[in-house]
Amino acid sequence: MSQVIAGEDVYAIAQDIFASMVDGDVGTIVPWEGPPPGWQEPVTAWVDLQGDWAGRASLTTETSTAHALARALLGFGEDEPVERADLVDAFGEVVNVVGGNVKSLLETTGSLGLPQVADVDPGLPGGLVLSEMVLAWHGRALELVVRAVL
């Protein structure tokens, strides 16, 4: 274990989550190809790591993609509507699992906060980006960022 987070480790965590929790199949999330996405109606979920190692894992995507993700997690049909509470719960839980797995990579005795979800990424003052990647899930873009607070 270390105090450094490698991008490949974060990517492996994302692959595990989507294979186990979301799609039940491997290989459904891959690096995004092409220019970075310009968000139209974004939604961001984040979870903070607190204690001797402080930082944040955050996930941003289009609201429509978060709806699709929530439908997949809840086992809903393709056109089934998703309540805002379910969207917040589902999208927040994905980043919560990311954060928990990131914390497991670190030599820290700190704690994991509860996931938060908002339409606007609040940013993280003093945050240093350790890993930043845009992933494609069934052709839809998701940006996954891990920051440390120095």
Binding site: D16, I17, M21, L73, D89, V97, S104, L112
Partner: protein, 120 residues
Amino acid sequence: MIRVLVADDSRVMRQIVIRTLRQAGYDWEVREAADGAQALEAVRADEPDVVLSDWNMPEMNGIDLLRSLRAEGFSTPFGFVTSEGSDEMRALAEREGALFLIVKPFTAETFRDAIEPVLA
């Protein structure tokens, strides 16, 4: 039929846990609790055969739920299903009397591997 109490503050995650139990072949009777405090009340009201609990929850977290149950004399078999699986947490869970700790994300096979030895 085995009766399980699933405690997690995420409704989505509770559904995933319940779905995974079924996929793993455990056709158990399920009750749900949205945090540790609700879970404690649910056990006091009607003790289940097993508790599957998240660790990080509002009101009362999973480890405090386990401690409260043991302090009140409940020896209900207890397992964690949590997004963190550090050595420190595993050691603490074991010390407090948890039978296993399943780390999210999980599969039906993960559930079987953790639960089967306990049921045997």
